[in-house]
């Protein structure tokens, strides 16, 4: 029983990290139909900046996170104009995959040349680094932050997409881009804004999740697959789907590591294959 609860709590924290990083990708893919393999690289840039701010510049945790999010957006926006704009709603998935995998390699090469090829720890502030007693076991205190941030992100995005004018425009463009454009919606601005949102969330998740998905030179390649899998399993563009997928996959991964650590990611990917086979459009994705 205790083991099951332990797994559940670890899975929840891990799932929330997956959710925060992947939801930006999901919204982006729902809107602009870009299979973006470089999303993990975006999270990695955020992690590198935060690590630099904390360890070299001596800034606080909150400030470092903020700088990491804004800095990553600032670094990557030019790429939106130069590269991603050509890929939006481009039916050729092969081209999208190639360009974004190229971008991933490029970002890995550049960041490691600039910051050095070592792993980049993100030290937590005093209040979050200790253990926290939740009755039957101790959990790392930063779990609380991660889970809270995940919940806030989900609620905030739901509010943004469902309750604001910006969200209405996005949903209109998702449903019919040509019609939305002819009604006067500036879709290119929407795409750019969504890209910024996706990048910001990736960086935010990268920093917050650094205890569970450590920032290291090959971060972008190692976890690229997982974020993509979350979106595919959840269904592109669906917040609830991404949340469900993150939790299911977080559970599969954590349970696999508890029960049969020597199998590595075997059970995680087995779950992925099964879920994709049964729900090819995602757990809660729209059937097209």
């Amino acid at each position: 029983m205790i083991t099951i609860l332990s797994i559940a709590i670890d899975a929840l924290a891990f799932g929330m990290v997956l959710f925060i990083i992947s939801i930006g990708l999901s919204v982006m893919m729902g809107l602009a139909r870009v299979v973006n393999l470089a999303h993990g690289a975006f999270a990695m840039i955020g992690g590198y900046i935060a690590s630099y701010m904390l360890r070299e510049a001596g800034a606080g945790f909150a400030l470092s996170t903020l700088v990491a999010v804004l800095g990553t957006i600032a670094i990557l926006m030019p790429l939106e104009f130069l590269l991603y704009r050509r890929l939006y709603r481009n039916a050729d998935a092969f081209r999208q995959i190639l360009m974004t995998i190229g971008l991933t390699f490029f970002i890995i090469g550049i960041t490691n040349t600039v910051f050095g090829p070592t792993s980049k720890p993100i030290p937590l502030p005093e209040a979050l680094s200790g253990p926290l007693d939740i009755g039957f076991r101790m959990v790392p205190a930063h779990y609380v932050l991660v889970i809270a941030c995940g919940a806030i992100t989900a609620l905030g995005l739901w509010f943004l997409l469902d309750k604001t004018q910006f969200g209405t425009r996005i949903r209109a463009t998702v449903d019919n881009a040509a019609m939305a454009e002819s009604l006067g919606i500036r879709t290119e601005i929407l795409y750019a804004a969504t890209f910024a949102l996706a990048v910001g969330l990736a960086a935010f998740g990268g920093v917050l999740g650094a205890q569970l998905l450590p920032i290291e030179p090959y971060y972008a390649l190692r976890y690229m697959v997982i974020f993509l899998v979350v979106v595919s399993v959840g269904g592109a563009g669906s917040i609830l789907g991404a949340l469900a997928a993150s939790l299911v996959l977080g559970l599969a991964s954590t349970a696999g590591k508890y029960m049969a650590p020597e199998f590595g990611d075997f059970f995680f990917y087995l779950t992925v294959i099964l879920v994709v086979f049964i729900f090819p459009h995602g757990l809660l994705g729209a059937r097209k």
């Binding site: 092969f94 360009m99 190229g102 390699f105 090469g109 592109a236 994709v276």
Partner: protein
Amino acid sequence: MTAIGTTTAAGAPRLPGWVRYEVTAFAVVTALGLIGYLVFPFDLALLTRIIAVTFLVLSLDLVTGYAGVVTLGQAAIFGVAAYAVGNACLAGITDPVMLLGVGIIAGALMGLVSGVLISRFSALPQLVISIAFGQLVAALANKLAQFTGGSDGLAGFAPSAVLGVFEFDIFGRTSFGFSLVVLAVVLALLLRFVQSPFGLMCRGIRDDALRARMIGTAVYPRLIVMYGVSGAVAGVGGALSAINVGVVSLHSVSFEMSAEALVMLVVGGAGHLLGAVFGSILFQIFGHFVGSTNPFHWMTIVGGTLILITLFAPKGLYSAFASAMAKFRKSRVSQ
């Protein structure tokens, strides 16, 4: 859609149809082999490794370039074949030609399995399944250490002489020659295969799967068969890599290997067998020099090149070169 046979034969004197592909394949492989031998006489091991990986790129070209299935899990087939060959050799089958057969069978079986899984869907689910399949095999390879040696790699097997005559020597001459001959044979077969009615129908599926279905093609079974053939080719590569190197490491089933093969294919030009060969050679020779000094500079260059190619030469260098040649020839004719 330029057929490979007509492109290569266009400039050369018209060869009789029934040997055209064989002559092309043997001419290309002999030329490349000679150039390689003259440029790197003391690094035949590098050349042999390049040839083994070339089979992986060729196999990827069959499914991605000719059938439109985008996969990032092709190395799983290559690696499993290599492990199968290593185990067969440890079990007492030491004849290299027999081992090649083991690799082909293992590769074809793995190809059929991945075909059933990967070509079921298209777009994102397809890509995700291919990645998941590759990672699943990689995790298993790590776990089943009694067959794979785990992270230490599988070693300690030594194939006997090729055809009972040519012993594997320390300079790698036998490995090199053996690999070249196999490459020429496989390339000739494949050049013929992609022009067959089956190969042409796969291209039809790639260009428009819905239309292919409309004219009565059973799309999914054909893709699975194509995957089986592709798996056999990847199996040849895995077998050669095991036979020549004598060690099979986890790298051969890794995601990086799959991704690199895709990059090589795209650099050369998906949908052209010779493009796949050239892409593989260019990438690996370049990588040998740049990658050995600083792996991260290498990644930057690979990434940058890939972005530039998708922007400016989306059909690969081979197509860009072929169309430039065609333009050049046209301009000479008009003068």
